[in-house]
Structure formats: C-alpha cells, structure tokens
Symmetry: C2
Subunit: 428 residues, 2 copies
C-alpha cells in the first residue's frame, strides 16, 4: 500500500475550497496510516480571490495536463459539466490507471458506462459519492450496503434548490419567479437556474441511483423530466387543502420488466416523511425485497458536506479494494428497457380555472367519466386573484395515458379559462 497520496485537484469552487481545508487540517485522514496532500491544482481563473494560499500547490492552466501529471497519484474532478474539459481530464487520468474521485453527476449520468469501462480496463477507482445528495450517503448505500438485496424502487427529493423554492413558495405565499430571485440572492440557485429548476440535476442523480440499484448502465435519455417552473402558488395552496404538499420527486422503479425513471412535481401526502423534508435538504427512499424500506435524509449540497463526501471517497481509494464502478462489471452493463407512460398508472391532481357559470362541474365530471377516470376527491374554492373559479380534483388510479386523454378532452370545454393543470400524486 502507498503510504502517501499526492492529489491533483481540478476545480476550486466552494466544494474544491472545502476539500483544500479538510485535507490541510487532516492529512492523516486515512485510517490505514497513509497521508494525503493536494499537490497540484487547476481552475478557470488563477487570480480569483480565495480563502487559501495557492502558492502551496503547483498550478496547471489545463486540467487535462493536471490529470496526466506524474506529480499526483489521484485525480479529483470538481469542474462539472457532462462534456468538455471535465470529461477529457477524467478520461486522461483513468487511461493512466490513476484513481478518480468526482462530484460530477452530469458526467456520470451521461457517460457512466464508457468511463466505467475505462476505469475497469485500467484497474482504477472511479468514485462519485458527492455526485448524489452531497454529503449524505446514497451511492455507497446502493453500491455496497444493499448489494445483497433486490431493489424495487428508489425515489426522493434530490435537488435542494427546487425543494428550497417550493418550501419558500408555500411559507411566504409568493410565486415561483419571486422566490427564485430570492434563492439566487441567497446563493441557493445559480444565475442560470435551468439545470436545477428544470429538473435536469435531479434527473442526473436519479439516473445514477437507478443504475446502481437495478444493475444496468446509466441511461439519462430514458428519464421523463419535468421541472418546477410551472408550479403555481395556487396549486400549492389547493394541494395543501386536499392534504398534500408539492415536491419535486425523482423516482426510478422496476415496472413490467423494464425501468421507469422520472422527475416530476408530485403531490405527497402531508403525513409522508418526504412531505416534511424542508428547505435545501435531500431525502431518499429505497424499497428492497429483503430490506423493506430505508429512508435517508440529509444535506444535499453545501461546500462542507460535499467536500467531506469527496474526502471519504479519497479515503476509500487509499484503503484499496477496488469494486466495479456500478453494481457489476462495466462490460456486463446493459441498457435498461424503457417503460413508457402507456405502461404506468397512478393517481392525478387536476386543476382547472373556470368561468363562474352553471353546469361547469357537470361538464367536467362527465368528461372524466366518459374517459373512464373516476374521481377520488373534489374541491371548488374561491381564491382571491385567481382570475376565475379554481376547481381541483384527484383521480383514482388509472393509466397515465387515460388520464392524459381525459384532461385533453376537458381542455376543449368552453367554460375553461386556461388549459387544465395536471400533477401526479405520489405512489410511494
């Protein structure tokens, strides 16, 4: 075993800075007695103001050159992005048989199998605990702790920005745009928030968890993705009246011989643990044949927790015992069979805004009855400033395509002021 590990660190943002601080304080972190130290670094801008002294490290303008440098034994990639320089640098390190630790969810979700092949062909570690739920264990739980179980589903709240925004919308009775601006000012959302609020970040993460849970290759293209941009305060309030909270839920489940992966705003019953996950927290449910149900909750982001997860992966490298990158060797990883919406069933929340005139309720309920969708609950409630009378109903379980057809028929009713809004109800 190596007694000292020299680390090349590409990316000096908040997580990179957190890692610099952890390793400076605890170079003897590895319980095997090995020491670790950052020796070389690379970042977009050499001259940014940073809370640590860069002169201790060898500077590399090019992260790929850092990954290739014989002056480090382990490469940490905290640049981000599915392609470009992050991917090139990781590939370079793996080709040299150099272990790689990354927090890059997009990279693993989009190119996981290809990188796993490269890592395994060269006998190198490729670890990415920090890519999912920041410092809260998720990857290791699926890859190692539940290795002897048959997982049926994984689902949870995987994007702290969206959960912060939805929590604040409800708490402060403000709309999406306004709360998004607040989140940006607080540093909870990026200047370009699309990756988070569009559901893509959560989709990257659930893609990785699905691959680990079900033993197939990561298949980001399979994910059915819907963000929170269209979630209205009105829906948050009406859902609440019906006993639900709206959360952005990422789910992957075995279904009809395939795997369904999705990210959707979802109504979660108020007494469900996921309904109580507030602010920037993340949470995950794992349902397995042997284990039943495991619930894990913790911080999904933040410099310190995420850097601690990166450091834990570094320790795993120093300890040795390299596993396949996913649940089985990369060469055996197959693409999962997709399960289309035609094969999934569920309950839905449907909200319409109607003109206040006689016969409206009858026409709506008739449309649903004709499509074969039965109603579980129904609520009509005047809401100030809603611009019409909001009517919400929840359906009993029906095929998603049947509900979509019914809603589409409803959309053409003359009493409707705007198209109906449909939101799934959690099956978890």
């Amino acid at each position: 075993m190596k007694s000292h590990w020299r680390i090349g660190l590409a990316g000096l943002g908040t997580v990179g800075g957190g890692l610099v601080s952890i390793l400076a304080q605890r170079p003897d972190l590895s319980p095997r007695g090995a020491t670790v130290a950052i020796t070389g670094v690379s970042a977009r801008n050499r001259h940014s103001v940073r809370p640590f002294d860069l002169s201790r490290f060898t500077w590399f303008d090019d992260p790929v050159a850092l990954a290739a440098s014989p002056e480090n034994d382990l490469f940490v990639e905290l640049i981000g992005g599915a392609d470009g320089v992050a991917k090139a640098a990781v590939e370079t390190a793996l080709r040299l048989g150099k272990p790689v630790v990354t927090a890059n969810k997009a990279l693993i979700a989009m190119h996981g199998r290809e990188l796993a092949r490269l890592a395994e062909a060269n006998g190198a570690f490729l670890l990415f605990e920090a890519a999912v739920m920041g410092g809260t264990p998720a990857v290791k739980i699926l890859r190692e702790s539940l290795v002897a179980d048959r997982i049926q589903s994984v689902s949870g709240i995987l994007n702290g920005t969206c959960n912060f925004i939805l929590t604040r919308m409800e708490a402060t009775a403000r709309g999406f745009r306004e709360v998004l601006s607040e989140a940006q000012a607080l540093g909870y959302a990026e200047a370009d928030p699309t990756t988070d609020v569009g559901g893509f970040d959560a989709a990257h993460k659930i893609t990785i968890l699905a691959a680990l849970a079900f033993g197939h290759a990561p298949a980001f293209e399979l994910a059915d993705i819907e963000g929170i941009e269209a979630v209205e305060l009105l829906d948050i309030r009406m859902a609440r009246d019906l006993g639900y909270r709206i959360k952005l839920i990422a789910t992957a489940e075995r279904l009809n011989g395939g795997v369904a992966v999705s990210v959707h705003p979802t109504l979660v019953p108020l007494d469900h643990p996921l309904a109580r996950v507030d602010g920037a927290l993340n949470a995950l449910f794992v349902q397995g044949t042997a284990i039943g149900r495991i619930f894990v909750e913790g911080p999904g982001a933040g410099a310190e927790p995420t850097a601690a997860a990166v450091a834990a992966d570094i320790v795993d490298v120093t300890v040795g015992g390299v596993r396949p990158v996913f649940s089985s060797r990369a060469e055996t990883l197959r693409d999962p069979a997709a399960v289309g919406p035609g094969n999934t069933s569920g309950r839905s929340y449907v909200r319409v805004l109607v003109k206040d005139q006689p016969g409206v309720i009858a026409s709506i309920t008739e449309t649903l009855a004709e499509a074969g969708v039965s109603i579980d609950s129904f609520l009509q409630k005047p809401v100030e400033g809603a611009g019409g009378v909001p009517i919400v109903l929840t359906t009993h379980t029906a095929p998603e395509t049947t509900i979509a057809k019914a809603v589409s028929a409803m959309a053409s009713l003359p009493a409707l002021i705007e198209p109906p809004r449909t939101i799934r109800i959690a099956r978890i």
Copy 2:
C-alpha cells in the same frame, strides 16, 4: 484475489437461515466475479427442523472447530452472546488471519478493542454491519461515509422490540406486561426479554456507534442504561397531552471533553422525526460538524434484512481493502473519558400521584423553586383508575443532579401517594 470463498457459518437461527437462502440463490453476489458458498455449519442442535437441507454442508458440533477448519476461508458468527463459544470461535478465526463477519453486538460492544487488535495483527477483516440496526446501514456510514467529518452526537431508536412495545401500549391503551406478552407471542420479544426491554441491547449498539463516531475504544461499562419496564401507560398518556411521545432513545455525544453514552425512555416532541418511528423500525440521527444532520430509518431486525447485511459484509471481504475495525488502528484506540450525570443538563418530565387535598400544587412547586428548578409546563388532569390525582410538569433545562435533588425532596411530601416518576426530555 481469491475467485471462490468457502464460508463457515456458526449459528442457524433465523438470520443464519436467511443467509443460507441468500447465498444459495446468489453465489455470484460479489461484483468482483468471485463466488461464495457455505461449506461448513455449526448450530446448537443438529436435528432442529430447518427449511433447508443440512446435508449439503459439513456439520461441526463445535463452532471453534468450524472457525479453525482449513475447509473454509471466511467465518460467519451468528451464535450471539458476549462471551463463551461465540468469542472463542471468533478469536480462533482471527488468530488464523481468517476474515470474520458477525452480527453479535454484545461481543463487539464488550470485547471490541481486544478483537480489533487480534484482527489487525493478523491482517483479517472483522465486520459487523448487521450488529446495529439489522439491515439498515449504520456501521458503514459512520466508519466510511463520514470518515472526514467530526461527529458531535449519534442518537436514535436502536431496539425494535422496545419500540414495538411502546407503540402498542399507546395504540391499544394497555400496560407494559400485557403488551410484552403479545410481543412474545408474535415473536417480537424473546422468552427472556431482559436484554431488550432492559435497554441492554440498545446499549450494546450505541456503544459500538459511539466508538465508530468518536474514534475511541468501545466502552460498554460507560453506558448509563434504563429500560422500558417502568414506563407506565399513564405516563405515555400524560406525555401525549403535553405534545410528546415516549421512546427508548440511545444517545452518545461529545460533552465537556468526554463522551456521554446513555439509553433512557425519553419524551420526544411529536413533530420530531424520531417520534414518528413506529413499530419495530429503527432510526438514527448523526450530527456532524461538516454534515449537519443525517437521519436514517429502516428495519432494525428481521431475518431477511439482517442476513442481507451479513451478505454485504461478506461481499466487502471478497472485494478486499481491509480497514481498521474501528475508526483508527486498534493500538491507538483509547478509553473515552466518562461524563457523569453531574455534568449533563437537560429538561425533565416529572409525574406525581397525589391525594386530592388543598395546598398540594403549592407544595410541589415550592419544592422545585427551592431547588432552583423552574417549570416549563404544568398539567393536572383526573385520570380514571389512576389511584390518585396525577400531576405532571416539565422543567426548563437544569443540571441532572439538580433535578434529581428536587425530585428527591418532592418524594418526602406527605401528599404523595407514590414516589415521583422522572423521564428525560429529548435534547435532539
């Protein structure tokens, strides 16, 4: 790397049977391509009726002989008990450098450092994920995932039997003895329930978690242990009226330079996640400097989940990368400094049963005021069949010794029908 692992399994109870079934179905469980198979077994009674065929395995009357046998490469100990044959067998295997996987919490809590020394001196794995929270990951989270953090406290519900009994007492409004009998009939409690209901099982587990979290030797003798035998239905009801549920909470925390480890019936606020952990579930909170707070909930026992955790440890052995048994090498593990009750503070629930006569409340509150304990809430409520008037109060935070002194003074008041009952209120 070894391509085939022959396993010697001592103990064929429900967990042992579960392991036989998992390994028969999935001999290729290890992602490294190694196969695993049970070859030799040992149990108390060779002729018990079992759902599998013993003739496939070599029978050993003596588990120590099984542990010593060159016909297996990995020893699984599911006998139980801190001493005696389980300990002798584990020591025998470790002395031979043979990896050991065990679910034996008493053994690890009582003899952890000594066994860790033996394991590390011989380069052998000693893994025990199944010893705490059954199939729900806890040991690996503390030993591996949070290795880069500084843990402040771990606390949770670690005994499913006690949690089942307390949940049922509240749900069915029956006393401890009656519900215990039901739990025994359902197989949730042993014929001799002392280990569970006396708090000893939870104390073994929190001792192990404390050692992993704080980097010291397991120190069972430090644990301040109180079981649930004295929890009365009356207290469950009164606590509920005050907004609490009574749970058996195991806690370990850094305090004044030392470590306080305890198991106590505790009042948990109804809106706290631990208050909602029902039935035989287990749950754990970990509070760390970097991570903030992580919550994990899942099944704490059961043949299938526990056997799956044993199997996951077996896979860890096949993968290699042996770590120290605890958070650092056994030779560096020190005894933790104890923190006595004189150094801990908290809030308490105090319940007295008094004669219905004038001046009683004044005498009780005066006693507390004289001792310097201030009252947070006060409830007097007639309860049918209580044999007196129950008065409950909750205190503000005060040193535990101060509260004990006040309660002791209260005990001598002539209006009291029986000694006061004190229960801690959770600080988590």
